[in-house]
């Protein structure tokens, strides 16, 4: 009982995920600032932003559905937090079961759908545009991402992340066999997180704030938290699936390697958002279906042949 509560509320549950989400946001902003010859924010800036948003007035357009607008960020937050429970952190997972990879993928898609709904119900013209775009984008990146993520599952002969990691302990990290799949998964993750160059649904110069244009106060704070936690859960998942967990005699060494891998992945994410210009939605759809999907199928074919 006490143990489960600890898992839910402290590690790897709520507290740990919130702290790592805010840390991710700070690191990301800091890296991006350094790429852009800026100084960047101090370490407590994401937390300060969150506190500021929670203390601000909460406004919505007159006819918007306030109940749904409150519910959607909370549903998104709970689903990404739940997804975070099942992702092994440095090999440690309290709730592992066969098929948890599918549960994680499903729970990670909930915020995107909620984001679309949030745009529709908040009745702003830019919100509706941003919401529609987020759904279009969803169909472009989700399919290659799913195909890419099924690569490790096929090679590991399991839909459980911890079993896949155990297989990697025997065979070596899957990045060796599926470098292409890893790249595709990173691209899909960037699309899922709506980061530059796939920040089409919230492109400031086109649709102001996207779906969240009309949101303010605590609701916006929750949405920001959702994005941060989604990012860290995605990063943890990719590291588990592709870099595995090399069985270490010492847990501190395992944690250190895990943290370093996370930092490198964050650096890659910040670097891509610093380097690339935003794509148009038609260019993204073309990229997704003409380039990423065939590449993902190629990778899957290779993996299946290897398994045989």
């Amino acid at each position: 009982m006490f143990r489960s509560l600890f898992h839910l509320l402290v590690f790897p549950g709520f507290l740990f995920l919130v702290i790592s989400g805010l840390t991710f946001e700070w690191l990301d902003r800091k890296f991006l600032a350094r790429f852009q010859r800026r100084v960047g924010p101090p370490w407590y800036q994401p937390l300060a932003d969150l506190i500021k948003l929670f203390s601000k007035e909460d406004l919505l357009p007159k006819n918007a559905n306030d109940f749904l607008a409150t519910l959607l960020p909370l549903i998104s937050l709970s689903s990404v937090l739940t997804a975070g429970l099942y992702v092994p952190i440095a090999g440690y997972t309290p709730f592992s079961f066969e098929g948890d990879l599918i549960v994680i993928i499903f729970l990670m898609s909930v915020p995107t759908l909620a984001y679309y709904l949030a745009g529709i119900i908040s009745l702003g013209i830019y919100s509706v545009l941003g919401g529609g775009r987020s759904l279009l984008q969803f169909f472009s990146y989700e399919v290659p991402l799913l195909i890419a993520l099924s690569g490790p599952a096929i090679l590991g002969r399991s839909w459980s992340v911890s079993t896949i990691m155990e297989t990697q302990g025997r065979l070596g990290p899957f990045i060796i066999f599926q470098p292409l799949g890893f790249v595709l998964a990173v691209v899909g993750l960037i699309g899922k997180l709506k980061r530059d160059p796939f920040d089409i649904p919230k492109a400031t110069s086109e649709v102001v704030g996207g779906s969240l244009t009309e949101f303010s106060g605590a609701k916006l704070g929750f949405w920001n938290l959702v994005m941060d936690i989604q990012a860290v859960v995605g990063i943890f998942l990719l590291i588990d699936l592709y870099f595995g967990w090399i069985k270490m005699s010492h847990p501190i060494l395992a944690i250190a390697i895990f943290v370093i891998e996370c930092l490198i992945l964050i650096l890659v994410l910040s670097g891509t958002s610093a380097i690339f210009a935003r794509l148009r939605i038609d260019q993204l759809a073309g990229l997704g279906w003409r380039i990423l999907v065939p590449l993902a199928l190629l990778q899957i074919g290779f993996v299946i042949l290897m398994g045989v």
Binding site: R37, L129, R278
Partner: protein
């Protein structure tokens, strides 16, 4: 899908100055758009009639925050033409130097805005960082970063000594190397090219029909540059390379402005090297004889047109300013059709709007 109208402005993250556009869209396709202007109208032409010629310099400097110097330069040349005086060659060169510096920082500013609009925030930060060097030069020589107060009727208000010339040359060399790298990125970055190539092309006929000038006209293959065509001193003694491109799309507009930045950098170095010695100001009487004059010069955004009529008093009877942005604005609704919603920022950036200039 149904037609919906989205408002862009008067307050919108896309716009740096107030301008109101209603854009009709269907899904992600833009069907058309309309404009509303006049949010920063300050009645400058009327105000100019109530002030003396000398006071007007300070008024006219405040028409624009980016190209303030070229406004006062054109005005001063107009007044001097009515007075029948010729300013010393050294003053002409200093005016031209400031004009070219202004063109560099205006184009760099524009480049940053374009980059920001297409999601290349890194280029935005870097160009604006480099632009600071130009502003530093301007502050060093004139005392003002934005409003330089460099001109007076009959010459300029400051002289450049050897030390300052050397300082400018050093900063320019540093700027040159920085800008070269930056411009290479802009000209070769695949995502930036994908976002601008083929977007909203304008034919040369349309350019002529709407009277569009400056880099937009040159990007459509209309070879017009007032530095060469109007032969205002000292450009009649300098060789100005006019950059043109035949495509007329957003990428060609980028290319022309990028290349013009290079030309201006070289021109600045030539001006400093060949600057004649002598005075920088001659005495000018306060009363201006009766008459009228038209002076045209090349602002960063194109041809700047000043009409000045005097009735023999110390105040202008009429001052008419035609800025390049006004013509470009009239072409904007034409461009806002058959494009994507995501192309609106690119089209708007390509026009390089200066609303304060256009509204006055």
């Amino acid at each position: 899908m149904d037609k919906i109208s989205i408002p862009i402005g008067p307050q919108h993250p896309l716009l740096k100055e107030p301008l109101s556009m209603m854009v009709d869209i269907s899904g992600e396709k833009v069907l058309g758009g309309s404009l509303r202007l006049g949010y920063v109208h300050r009645g400058i032409e009327r105000l100019a009639q109530q002030r003396t010629y000398v006071q007007n310099i300070h008024l006219i400097e405040r028409i624009c925050g980016i190209c303030s110097h070229v406004h006062t330069t054109t005005y001063c040349y107009a007044v001097e033409a009515l007075l029948g005086i010729e300013i010393p060659p050294r003053a002409q060169y200093i005016r031209a130097l400031m004009c070219e510096l202004e063109r560099i920082h205006s184009h760099l500013l524009w480049l940053g805005i374009l980059a920001k609009h297409i999601g290349l925030d890194t280029i935005f930060m870097h160009t604006w960082h480099d632009r600071e060097m130009v502003l530093d030069i301007m502050e060093e020589v004139s005392g003002g970063r934005i409003s330089h107060a460099a001109n007076q009727i009959g010459g300029v208000r400051f002289d450049l000594d050897e030390e300052k010339g050397e300082m400018i040359r050093k900063i320019l060399i540093k700027l040159h190397s920085q800008v070269e790298g930056l411009l290479d990125v802009i000209e070769s970055e695949p995502a930036a090219i994908a976002r601008t190539k083929g977007v909203a092309p304008i034919s040369p006929d349309l350019i002529k029909a709407y009277g569009v000038v400056g880099p937009i006209a040159r990007a459509s293959g209309v070879d017009v540059d007032m530095r060469r065509d109007a032969s205002l001193p000292p450009y009649d003694q300098l060789e100005v390379k006019v950059i043109t491109h035949s495509d007329g799309d957003a990428w060609a507009r980028t290319f022309v402005r990028v290349e013009e930045t290079r030309v201006s950098l070289n021109l600045c170095e030539t001006i400093i090297r060949e600057m004649p010695r002598g005075d920088v100001v001659v005495h000018a009487p306060r009363r201006v004889p009766e008459g009228e004059v038209i002076i045209r010069s090349e602002a960063p955004r194109g041809e700047l047109f000043y009409y000045l009529r005097s009735d023999g008093s110390d105040k202008p009877a009429r001052l008419k300013v035609r800025t390049p942005t006004l013509a470009a604005l009239s072409l904007l609704p034409v461009q806002l059709s058959e494009i994507n919603v995501a192309d609106i920022p690119v089209v708007l950036a390509g026009v390089d709007l200066c609303i304060a200039c256009a509204d006055r």
